[in-house]
Symmetry: C2
Subunit: 234 residues, 2 copies
């Protein structure tokens, strides 16, 4: 038995590539985005009273994982990338049906040039992600704070993040143009150290694309230094 | 763009019909079930280390809702079945793509007659439900206990449940045969009052099928009296 499903919307996100997307979405408060709703789901009445809820579930497709398929076991980052666990004991994108699940903060609906957008933040979704369902987050049944979790071993180490004077100025002028708080976003992402566990001692340069801006940084002892903020032409 | 997805498993559940399935799954501790894993997902290694987690997410199809389709607005039970809200502000099964999401307690894997089963409890899934994905519940990102929720208005009223002597004896003998604690299961389900909000004053008789047993009860003032427990031939 196969089922055919169809996207109800598409993600617009600050995350333009997989590298940099946080493993713990709630910590990156500045990660804004929106869901562009597609017909027949681009009608305000379908979201009536959603404003009662602070958070929503997004069920989506890990679309960039599809071409690579999946394997029965994976090496998750919370075990340092060494040990293998079953794919169903992980949240890897490389899984049968490639379905993803994230809780995000809800900021309301907006109609712009005829399209309906649902604004979100604290999200970890790649730009262009197809969305299959949205549901209100109901703490009564969805929040199980005393659930036990292999993820308890997660590192809580925070990296200090500094900016060169020029990089900081570029972030500020970008915010003036776009109202996007790039300084906060970059800081929140880098403080969690997006490097693979195997590269924790690396001193090489890294880059990541946020919106239309390429961010370049490198390790400086235990800390990170952001030395370039380069706006791309879209 | 359409996507074709395929079940990784099928639910075996005490719930044989929609009526009786609790709106707050976690409260019905005795609601046991299992997921029969289908090829190619019926391999133990795909679940290695899942025992680190107490709870898992089940992403499934509301298969009995598919024939009826969906409407843009619904009347959810938490508003007394009166007021209309957008379908995306509800957890109605009648939604585009008919995808469901439930957190359940995980009890381990079991191989029986060649098939691999994943045992669960505290579940609210209809027997025969197709499952599309399983994920570990990660409280770090999934538990948002301070999320605000329209469901705060949920009734916490509990109905007292009594059994006739004969009904109680039948429950006990069923448990001896099957190791299923029917007395606890019926009590936990009925204490939450499964009747539609519009029938809260009804004194008519109700029935529900749990496993292969038909349970019949009626209101007795503010309380419920279970007066018949009838095992069906399967």
């Amino acid at each position: 038995m196969e089922l055919s499903i169809k996207p109800i919307g598409t993600i617009h996100s600050c995350y333009r590539e997989k590298f940099g997307i946080p493993r713990q979405p709630g910590l990156v408060k500045s990660a804004r985005g929106s869901i562009e709703l597609l017909p027949p789901c681009d009608r305000e009445e379908m979201f009536k009273e959603l404003e009662r809820f602070s958070h929503i579930w997004v069920q989506f497709l890990f679309h960039e994982a599809v071409p690579d398929g999946w394997r029965p076991t994976v090496r998750p980052p919370w075990l340092g990338g060494q040990k293998r666990v079953g794919l169903f004991a992980s949240r890897t994108p490389h899984r049968p049906n490639f379905l993803g699940l994230s809780v995000v903060r809800y900021h309301g609906l907006r109609r712009e040039k005829g399209s309906l957008y649902l604004d979100i933040s604290e999200q970890d979704l790649l730009h262009g992600t197809p969305v299959f369902d949205l549901k209100p987050y109901v703490p009564y049944s969805d929040a199980v704070p005393d659930a036990s979790s292999g993820f308890a071993h997660f590192s809580t180490r925070k990296v200090a993040v500094a900016f060169s004077r020029e990089a900081e100025e570029k972030c500020r002028s970008y915010q003036e143009q776009t109202d996007r708080n790039l300084l906060a976003l970059v800081t929140e992402i880098l403080t969690q150290d997006p490097r693979p566990a195997s590269q924790r001692a690396s001193t090489r340069e890294y880059g990541m694309l946020l919106w239309d801006v390429n961010i370049r940084w490198k390790a400086n002892g235990e800390d990170f230094m952001v030395f370039a903020v380069e706006q791309q032409r879209e």
